[in-house]
Every structure is written in C-alpha cells, then in structure tokens.
Subunit: 299 residues, 2 copies
Amino acid sequence: MTREEFLEFLKEKKALVDQKLEELLPERDEPGARVISAMRYSLMAGGKRLRPVLCMLGAEAVGRRGEDFLLFACGLECLHTYSLIHDDLPAMDDDDLRRGKPTCHRAFDEATAILAGDGLLTLAFELFSSPELLEVTSPERLLQAVHLVAQAAGASGMVAGQMADLLAEGREISPEELSYIHRKKTAALLSASVVSGGLLAGAPANDLRALETYGEALGLAFQIVDDILDVVGEEEKLGKPVGADIRKKKATYPALLGLSEARNKAKELIETAVSALQVFGPKAEPLKALARFVLSRQN
Amino acid sequence: MTREEFLEFLKEKKALVDQKLEELLPERDEPGARVISAMRYSLMAGGKRLRPVLCMLGAEAVGRRGEDFLLFACGLECLHTYSLIHDDLPAMDDDDLRRGKPTCHRAFDEATAILAGDGLLTLAFELFSSPELLEVTSPERLLQAVHLVAQAAGASGMVAGQMADLLAEGREISPEELSYIHRKKTAALLSASVVSGGLLAGAPANDLRALETYGEALGLAFQIVDDILDVVGEEEKLGKPVGADIRKKKATYPALLGLSEARNKAKELIETAVSALQVFGPKAEPLKALARFVLSRQN
C-alpha cells in the first residue's frame, strides 16, 4: 500500500466516522441542549479519527469488516475528544486553539466545556454498550472490550497520564517518568483502540497480543512525533502555536534526548509496531501503512 | 419495617459499600497517584450511599441477594461522586464545602478535581464491566444495565440536567423547566440505580417498569426534600450552608410552589413510589422504608 493509497483509504474510513458521529449527536431543542452543541462543536472540529480507524483496522486484520464495529469506533472518538476538551481547560493546559479553532471553553464557556467533556465521556460508554453491537459480536467480547477501554481511559491510564503531565510541568523529570506519561496519556488508548477491534472481531489471544504490541509502540511513536512537531512543525499545518511545550516547560522527548535521537526512537518504535503485524499477513497492510503515516505526519 | 429497623439495615448496606470502595481504590505510589488520592478523598467522605443501596434493593425486590451486585452498586457511587466533584467546581456551583469537608478542588486544586471526577466517571464503567459480575448475571443483562446507566448519566440525563440548572440561575423559570432539571439531574440516576438492580437480577419487564415508576417518583421527591432542607434545614446536620440556593437564585420547588405545597408534592410522590411496589409483596419492604426515609430525612 503506497502512502497515496493509504491516504485515500484513510479518507474513506474518516468519512464513515464523521457521518456516523453526525447522526449520533443531532442538535436538540430543550433546556439542556447547549451542552449538546458544545459536544458537537468539538467532536465535529476535524481530527484524524485515528482511534476509530485503529479499531476498525484491528477488526480487519483478523478478517472481519471494520465498518461492522463503527458504533464502538465512534465511542473511541468521543472518548478522545472529551480528553482534549478537558486538557485544554484553563485549570489544565489553558489552550485557546485546537485544530485551528477556538477551544471548547473559548467558544462556549468553562462550565459548558466541563459538561461537554463529561457528556462525551459518558456517550462513549453509551455507544460501547449499544444493543446493535450484539448483531456483530458476542456480549462477552463486547464486555471485555468495554472493560479494556475503561481501564485505558481511567486513573490507571489517560487520567493518570494527564495528572502526571501536569505535575511534571516546569521541572526536570527522568526518562522513566516521561515514558510513564506518554504510555498512559497517549499509548494506552491508541493500543486499546486497535485491540478492542480485534477483540470484537473474535481474535484469539495471540493475535490480541500482537495488536497490543503494535498499538503500544505506535502510541509511543505518535507522542514522540507530536513532541517533535511542536519544535519543528509549521503552525499553519498544526492548527496550534508551535513551541507551546517549550514555553510551558513541558517534558518532551526532543528536550530529553535531542531532536535527532528522538527521531531515531520514533523510527525504531514504528519498526517494532510493523514487525508485530507479521502474523496477520496482507490483511494488516493498512495498519502497517498507518504506522508509516504516523512517522511522517506533519500535523 | 420501622424507621429504626430500616436505619440499622441501611447502616449494614452502607458498610458493605464503604468497605468495597476502600478495597477498589487503594492509594498508589506512581507519578499520577495524586488523582487517586483526590478520588479517594471525595469517595470516602461519607454520604448515604443511596444509589448503591437502591441497586441492591432493586435486586432484592425480585428475590436475589443484593450483595451479589456490590461491584455494580459501587460503580453507581463513583458516578454520583464524580457529579458532585464537577458540580462543586468554581466554573459551576463554586462550592467550598461538601458533607462538612472542603470540596475536592479546595482540598486539592482545580485541575486535580476535574481529573478526579473524570477518573471516577471512568472507574464507574470499569466496575460495571467487571468480569466478576458474569458469575451473578448474564452478559446480555449486564450490557443492558450499563447502557441504561450511561443514558441516565449522559447528555440525555445528569449532564443535561446540570447544564439546564446552570442556565436557569438568576432568572425565573417555568414549572416545566424545573421539572426537567430535577428529572434529569437527580431522578434519572436514582431511577436507573434501582432498575439496574432489577435488570441484573433477571426481573421481567413489568417488574422493571414498577421499579422505574418507584425510582422516578422517589428521585423527584428526593430533590424536593433537598430544596426544602436548603430553606429550613440545620447547617450542622446538612454539612453545608443553609440558604445557598436562595443566594445563588437557584430555581427550587419551595420558591416556585411555596414551602407547604412543596411538602405536599413530596409526600404525594412518595405515595406513588410506594404504591408501585405492590407487585413485589414483602420483598420490597426495604424499598418502601427507604422512600419514607427520604421524605423524613434531615440531611
């Protein structure tokens, strides 16, 4: 699969997700509807839809149609968007721009943004437990996938990573602490996304382990590339100011290892990710292409 | 069941919940552990454990042992505690005291409190999807219960209620709008708590409808009593300042109907709740006692 073929493929998958999300969250006319507008605002603000795509591709690697699990995949995007909204809040990273648009609390207000995040986090689990999914997977598998994602998102995963990230601001931290932050904050949900796809598709344990290895390596590489882009990226493509991490004295791989060593580290991780997919043969081509895409991305 | 018998009964159930919550959330020693401390702080700050008790009693009404569903019940308390932490935030109700202790953002800080809420909301769904629960219920029933609770908690339930409550501050609202706020903000989760217990216990559809009628009436009565206590309660017993709703120009039933009419409304609702339980016979005695307790509570 060439980069161009993959980009075309990604575009199609992204369109599926965008359309479904649009359907799932219509505007309402009732006293509390403002929170729905805020949820929609952030959810439909673009984004690569990487987590839903990973979920669908995880299912495809084991021979199922990814689209069958679209509802679950959309839940993963809700989960991701909630974390962005809350991370951007004044009490957290205090960001004004996200994907080139005002952040949720800037476009609405702080209370609405907190509630929009809460609403999206809850909507994720509403989608994960949709009765429709029992037409394409077993209830046992579905419960396992819900449990896996909840662990990756909670105080053993994303929430712990964001806490540690905030506590690390403005002071020197060890490579171990930085790795903890990135594993928890980014890699855990990326990995759970691809593994949940395999789980729902009925993959055996050794396939799930291969997807997990892929997902964790991909997740760490993704974060390192993110850190690198914050140093050398182009503001316009990123949709947010370059150098924000440095100004906030955030711990990053380039700061810790230097730019060139950070690039090597990301490359190594992508190789690890791709190697883990050997067991799947050609069905994992899109996952491999996605890994190479993550390494070369510019936003 | 006399009031004294019920209080003793409640104390035993509460002790089960307290002990299990304590076990489920041990302190940790890792970079992100601060959020665990904050989650524990709010979760273990007391509280009546009404939602977990309702879940267990819902199961008992249809002839099962409530304690079997303790893990699920504890998830409901996590969900409730998350909503208190976020509602207390400066951007929301800006409260300094909760259950007689500093609110989470006062005891820790705002970022930690936001994350503690997020962590508890996610932990709730981690508990709901615990593999251990499949020893006591079917995976289909468990998924239905997860879905029901997610709907009650999200942007069609609690989150919408809190949004509408914030938007109603400082202006006159209609009885319809006040009823919307209370149904969404309080009654939805109380009702889902008792219904989820019945669901997990394998209750047939008509039993579930009876539990739902009970739960909704109880939930509205609970909120009306809450509003009344804010006017006439004793600060010491409540653990928070009396009159806060009036100072914040919050919409309440006593403000809308007058104190005496509000009391009558609560009483009527409790009668509706108790009547709905006829189908269960003596197994629903504790649920009836709980309804009468809600009407007479002083904190």
